[in-house]
């Protein structure tokens, strides 16, 4: 019986004459990338990163509880001090029962999550069963490890439900992979952790958990300039994921902290 070893074939990328490989060709082995012909690769990468200024700054979080996995994120993308978008999808739907969160370089996260989705599908076709969360996260971690030191910026959480129940893994561009039941990634994560850790109980209902996730993202967007936009909350259960809420954080602010009615005698009226 031939075992599926495509996940093991991660070698250093082919340097030089770009063999313009099709997307599908490049999946079982590492896609080949054109590399600049320079003696100072690190300096060049540093300068090109400054030039490209990939979107960074974000708040994402995920936690396991009694009813499954809750995943939440903001939607702001910033390039330096400029907000390049307020509507970025940071929770990527890898397949109907697995989600990936995006933090770091958005191009890196988008591309590698899509690549992971392809690999998961190929695994399903080759093995006639779904890939486990552990397996999917390992595929991603191994892929990122082979590009270690080349300047990729990926801080992602893979959340899903497989035969062993709910699964949550943190994977980053260093090739690190951690199993856990509570994670928050991004520039707003300290704020999110504060709210998340103090409100967390394993025995929460789905409503309580989604409210906790939403509130944690809101507080992070309030204090972190690089986070904002829309707070999205997803739930992963045994039947797959569902999107529970998407709320503008500006409006959430007044939902949590309503303005007390004015007691001034003269009230400014808005021009009709």
């Amino acid at each position: 019986m031939k075992l599926d070893t495509s996940g093991f074939e991660t070698s250093m990328p082919v340097i030089g004459f770009g063999s313009n490989s099709e997307m599908l060709d490049g999946v079982s082995s590492v896609p080949s990338f054109d590399l600049p012909r320079t003696t100072d690769f690190d300096g060049f990468q540093k300068k090109s990163v400054e030039m490209v200024k990939p979107a960074k700054g974000t708040t994402t979080l995920a936690f396991i509880f009694k009813e499954g996995v809750m995943v939440a994120a903001d939607s702001r993308a910033s390039m330096g001090g400029y907000i390049s978008s307020q509507s970025v999808k940071k929770i990527i739907e890898i397949n109907p029962y697995m989600l990936g969160s995006m933090a770091g370089g958005s191009a890196d996260c988008q591309f590698w999550h899509r690549n992971l989705g392809i690999k998961c599908r190929l695994h399903e076709l080759a093995n006639k069963r779904r890939i486990s969360v552990s397996g999917a996260s390992k595929l991603l971690a191994n892929m990122l490890y082979s590009y270690r030191g080349m300047g990729l910026s990926v801080g992602t959480m893979i959340a899903g439900w497989d035969e062993t129940g709910p699964g949550l893994y943190y994977v980053d561009n260093e090739g690190g992979r951690l199993k856990g039941d509570r994670f928050s990634v991004g520039s707003g994560s300290p704020y999110a952790y504060g709210v998340l850790d103090s409100g967390y109980k394993f025995d929460m209902s789905i409503e309580e958990a989604s409210e906790l996730a939403r509130r944690s993202i809101y507080h992070a967007t309030f204090r972190d300039g690089a986070s904002g936009g829309v707070a999205s909350v997803y739930h992963v259960g045994p039947q797959g994921w569902t999107k529970l809420s998407g709320d503008d954080v500006g409006e959430l602010h007044y939902h949590y902290y309503p303005v007390a009615p004015a007691t001034a005698e003269h009230v400014m009226e808005e021009a009709a």
Partner: protein, 223 residues
């Protein structure tokens, strides 16, 4: 001994601004025609807009040599697609192709800031906005290039619609008519030309509809 750094950079910035607005059954793609390097103007009549398919038009600012190379790659990939599938590529398909093309040069990027405009499979206008390494998003309107930071806040003010991420889902179509959108684009470029040295000379506007593409040219300040 301090490290020797390269005195030559493979990149240059030729400036310019690109804007696209998506409507219910049209798409407006506009760009100025000034090509500069440093403080010099190389051309007052250089088109930054390129038709990739019947329903997909690409507009890019940044380093025009990289833009030209990118256009060539996309054009040849589209031709192969047409041979293999006996039809033109749709705009969302072209959007993904562009994203992958950009990402395959992740470690030696195309210095191109792109806006892709066109009509989707349902005939509605669509605009996709990119960063230099391929991260993309479908939006109702977008601006890239040297004047983008001047133009985007104004477009947000005039066109901002509920985010597609909101639940319950709210309609995020630009309510403008085609004539209003073209007018808005002209206004926006006139203002950007006032305050951005790299934007000016002429404005090229392409209006993409189901029955074809119309092009319009408008003069901008030449100073």
């Amino acid at each position: 001994m301090t490290k020797q750094h390269a005195n030559w950079s493979p990149y240059d910035n030729n400036g310019g601004t690109c804007v696209a607005i998506a409507g219910s059954d049209y798409c407006v793609i506009a760009a100025d025609t000034r090509m500069s390097t440093g403080y010099s103007i190389l051309s007052r009549d250089y088109s930054k807009i390129h038709k990739l398919a019947d329903k997909a038009v690409l507009s890019s600012s940044g380093f025009q040599a990289d833009v030209k190379a990118l256009q060539k790659v996309l054009k040849s990939r589209h031709l192969i697609y047409q041979h293999q599938h006996n039809k033109q590529m749709s705009c969302p398909a072209m959007a993904q192709l562009l994203s992958n093309t950009l990402y395959f040069k992740r470690f030696f990027p195309y210095y191109a800031f792109n806006v892709l405009g066109g009509l989707d499979e349902e005939g509605k206008g669509c605009v996709f906005t990119y960063d230099a390494v391929g991260s993309y998003e479908r939006v109702g309107y977008g601006a890239q290039g040297s004047g983008s930071t001047l133009i985007m806040p104004f477009l947000d003010n005039q066109l901002k619609s509920p985010s597609p991420l909101l639940l319950p889902k709210q309609d995020s179509n630009t309510p403008l008519s085609e004539a209003e959108a073209v007018d808005l684009v002209k206004t926006v470029f006139a203002s950007a030309t006032e305050r951005d040295i790299y934007t000016g000379d002429k404005l090229e506007i392409m209006i993409l509809k189901a029955d074809g593409i119309k092009t319009e040219l408008m003069d901008l300040r030449k100073d």
